[in-house]
Symmetry: C2
Amino acid sequence: MSTSAAGAASPETPPDTPVTATARRARAAAAALAPLPRTPRDAALLAVADALVARSAEIVAANAEDVSRAQAAGTADAIVDRLTLTPERIAAIAADVRDVVALPDPVGEVVRGSTLPNGLELRQVRVPLGVVGIVYEARPNVTVDAAALCLKSGNAVLLRGSSSAYASNTALVGVLRDAVAGAGLPADAVQLVPGESRDAIRELMRARGLVDVLIPRGGASLIRTVVEESTVPVIETGVGNCHVYVDARADLDMALRILVNSKAQRPSVCNAAETVLVHADVAEEFLPRALAALREAGVTVHGDAAWQKADTAVVPATDEDWATEYLGYEIAAAVVPSLDAAVAHIRSWTSGHTEAIVTGDTEAARRFTALVDSTAVMVNASTRFTDGGQFGFGAEIGISTQKLHARGPMGLPELTSTKYVVTGSGHVRD
Amino acid sequence: MSTSAAGAASPETPPDTPVTATARRARAAAAALAPLPRTPRDAALLAVADALVARSAEIVAANAEDVSRAQAAGTADAIVDRLTLTPERIAAIAADVRDVVALPDPVGEVVRGSTLPNGLELRQVRVPLGVVGIVYEARPNVTVDAAALCLKSGNAVLLRGSSSAYASNTALVGVLRDAVAGAGLPADAVQLVPGESRDAIRELMRARGLVDVLIPRGGASLIRTVVEESTVPVIETGVGNCHVYVDARADLDMALRILVNSKAQRPSVCNAAETVLVHADVAEEFLPRALAALREAGVTVHGDAAWQKADTAVVPATDEDWATEYLGYEIAAAVVPSLDAAVAHIRSWTSGHTEAIVTGDTEAARRFTALVDSTAVMVNASTRFTDGGQFGFGAEIGISTQKLHARGPMGLPELTSTKYVVTGSGHVRD
């Protein structure tokens, strides 16, 4: 235990603003939620699911404002589609909330427990984090998903969605708050961060002592801003510069299947592959096949000299390419002289999300998994499997690419902390 | 999983300075340590223990420089004593290192594992955090303790001790590095942060991407500075504004024993009590007895009106007192009308370290433990038990008072992260 100099130890008190006032209300709601058992939390979530369906007309009407604003601004159809809510989509969101209700309760789980030699009974118990701030972009379904996961885990949530979905999010949060309050829980367990400007995010990031954790979900620049500027603890999520390494002893049919799936099955997501590295021993055979398959999948290849030599359509790769998360039909590609060279490339450029090796060599698989320092390492499987749903967690608030607290897909346990409860009968220290 | 905008995802690269150069060497050492099994790490630690004893004359000589500098500066005897190393003390430090060797290896532990419905084999495996920075004050034994715990858990460590112990720390780190290198591990697994100025700490705090976590151990102002200014993730430790609440249904003999032990058994440490709250129903009987016992223990009481009325020697308490971690023979004291009022006081003023209730009422114990949101809640036991050694963890790098990653005494598992290793046979997603 540390010996420290005397000093005031009161919590920091951020200045009063609309954002901190919201956070203070969330704090009070969190204090009321924390001691509740599962039943009232689940009841509130079921009320939320019912209310979303019952009030879907109202939500669709609000969403129409966002949609027409986006269309007027010339937003791409794909993005407008992701923004759009229909009664069917709202019903699906409500069904997801019911799925969350069915998940095991993380709160109250005894993580570790023992009776100490002196008879003290030690229990380490899962407790809610308290107030969770989520800063996210685009799709309004995240509003409901995030709120449901936070409520299920006993947390109050502060939601800061995209300004392009402001009307939709306002309507959704209104429905959520009414349902939560109707079920007898504090409405302030679910709040939208007030204000549409960037200043609101800045205030949220400085609300240390009021907000227990901030989870940014979105593009690299949003995440970097939050990580750099926040004094509230942050869980970094989602940026995925993922690699597929085709080893000297790979089954090349398997490698092809995994490469194309990792890159092109859904290129816009964080667990899609962005670089392929091929062992020199199999380059001559694999490159033409990979180029043909990638071309067929509509993928442009940014390659090193070896890849350029294999096909004139290959765009010369620069360091920028090794660093880029394309999130589209593009891939960086290099030939490497050894597994260790592949590992060195990955360690230099990865965002630490997911890397895959394709190999039939057990020692190569062992060395790759030992040396690669990323959230997930796949052996003979697509990078696309790094996902809370795929991992069987039932739900996911994001994929952490940092090492502290949570690493990889975050389910309900990752939205909790623990506390020690120690019971004695008058025990004192000698 | 989040859908993100495209962007460069390469790790941030802090500017080149002596501190970041040190961190880069640590990073390389961490990469070499991470895949090592237990045996070579333990062998290096045993070599460290032997070398500390073998070279204790050299360490004592360096320490004498720090000691005479401190004496010349008029440093208090107690602090000079804590700074002083003798061959006996060095032998005790070496024995502590051997105790660390005997602890279970946290690295490689499979935390969670299953075979997914599609046949993918999922394992969540403990891995070292990577590069751990420790910023600490005063005692040079922390240099060895922290390095031993980091090495045992497969991490490289960057040590930034007090400038008052600079010569001692330099000598100790020299011995550690020689022993580590002699055992075939990279010497750069243990490094002192270069430079004696505060700028070095500032650079360390901005070395995000090179340093995986910073753990400040020391006074409130050091910890606050690191928490506010660091972009490297921080684990907040040690500030303890701990409370003892004497309930209406307390055994007052037990309450007295726990109060005096919590406050006075070792007042300079973070798990010592700083405030006592007494239920109004037992105030008349308890206050005179508490005042007598505290006086006998040499403790000055800063009390509210009720405590002042009980004894003219009581100093009137202000809000400053409720917030203060005295770390000495002083205590703040109040009478509260109810358990909920005690909880409200604690929630307002606590640093979230340890709170104790003394009660014979099971429902009061249950309510107090549910409502108090601190690292540890004691029922009928002294606050002084919040300690890695007392909890049976074998060793402790500090006591986290934050909610993310680790909360409470941090042992070896808290110095690790995890990664997912997923093994398939050509699995791709539909």
